[in-house]
Symmetry: C2
DNA sequence: AGAATTTCCTGCTATAAAGCAGTTTTTTAC
DNA sequence: GTAAAAAACTGCTTTATAGCAGGAAATTCT
């Protein structure tokens, strides 16, 4: 079904290198997995057998915390990797959980197959390396933001991030998250998110239609956090 | 002087692969740089020309924040990489600053030389990839901790981390950091760090000799943060 | 060694954020 | 379409953390 040669996800690292004949056998071993909304397909702490790619849909990647708090560490959409090292690294266990945010289709490769091609196709390995390096850079930026921004700034930053990552249609974000999800990504509580969103609505900066949020005034929101985002790579 | 073949840093990714004859020319282009304590050798936002390795010494890697707050994102010691993507990734600028914590010796490779060998020696590229993947995993753990631990827990976590990373001699940590450094890593203020350290001293869990800190009761400290560290890879 | 500077420390105050409890709205399931 | 469940919301209270100011100790410099 989802075939790497004709795949629409041009940003996918596998797709980018799929013309290499050495990948042919590897591609045959791909599995396609369908996930319903809210379904968890990676569980933190279980043995890692391989790596997932989002083919279609949206996914949240979560680290389990204390009480009922979780930390969303990243979001993945079409073409993006889920399950990071997938067992071919130093750890044999998944360090995160992953859950579909909407009905999604995933591609799956076993760690043996992956390790095999990664050790043989430098260009592909290099692309993987760059992917991790860029993710690392982003994660480090997030460390700084969590440590230094106020709760309000973090929530605004999250809203702007959602617009950048998933885009908007008719001033409504193309992603539907609960207040708890916003809290789990921004590093705060549900109540705090609700309070801040409601303030922003009153100020006319934010729009809400049912569950969906819309950014009405990107620039003003950006100004509110600009003192933290001066650096060359945000 | 610092020669990769005879180098003592067995954990260094270059050293690990230095027996490969294809590395010979590359190794000739290595530069050795000496740094005095407190000297900054990478400045955030400047064009990235290459990558550093710590040969001897200790280094802090920092992201610039608001006011006089900085976020220390990691520490590096013998054999470890500094300057991450070093310009061969998507960004052409350093996303962090780096400063020597004591007199240090660094190895330096240009991004052109690096890119050249990385695209030709899959095993090396694979090692680099794993390095970044592991760093990413650690960084994501840090994101969770910053979001969910209390200030006291974060400071304790930092103390235990220092012991794990740099070790202790006669119950004194083998690294000398200012209270501000502890704050900049833990994501809090200098005053808060001072208050918490002084509490721990009164409780007999911590020891201080001049500027150096010593952990007296590792286990009790670990228990104080255990509810956050249940997961398989901390 | 002594002066100057930086770092460290403490008590007090202000503020930001979290927690709780009860209500309303929205979504889901039959 | 209606009932049940989940999510969203609000006001109030409590707690955690930051900020300020002034002094003590330690370190650096000459």
């Amino acid at each position: 079904m989802a075939d790497c040669i004709t795949c629409k996800n041009k940003n996918c690292l596998i797709n980018k290198n799929s013309s290499d004949p050495r990948l042919a056998d590897f591609l045959k071993n791909k599995h396609t997995i369908r996930c319903k909304k809210s379904q968890q397909f990676i569980m933190e702490g279980t043995p890692a057998h391989g790596l997932f790619f989002a083919y279609e849909g949206k996914v949240k990647v979560v680290k389990t915390g204390v009480n009922d708090r979780e930390q969303i560490v990243r979001f993945a959409k079409d073409g993006e990797i889920i399950g990071h090292r997938g067992g071919f690294g130093s750890s044999k266990y998944y360090s995160i959980s992953a859950q579909a945010l909407e009905d999604s289709t995933l591609c799956y490769f076993s760690k043996e197959d992956l390790k095999n091609i990664l050790l043989n196709i430098p260009k592909l390995t290099f692309d993987f390396m760059l992917f991790y390096a860029d993710e690392l850079s982003e994660s480090e930026t997030r460390v700084r933001k969590l440590a230094q921004m106020s709760v309000k700034e973090r929530v605004i930053d999250t809203l702007l991030f959602m617009d950048t990552k998933f885009g908007s249609t008719d001033h409504l974000l193309n992603i539907s998250l609960s207040r708890k999800d916003y809290a789990d990504y921004s590093g705060t509580t549900e109540e705090q998110v609700i309070r801040i969103l409601s303030t922003l609505k009153k100020e006319g900066l934010l729009n809400a239609k049912g569950r969906k949020l819309g950014i009405l005034d990107f620039e003003t929101l950006q100004n509110e956090i600009s003192k933290h985002t001066f650096s060359p790579n945000s």
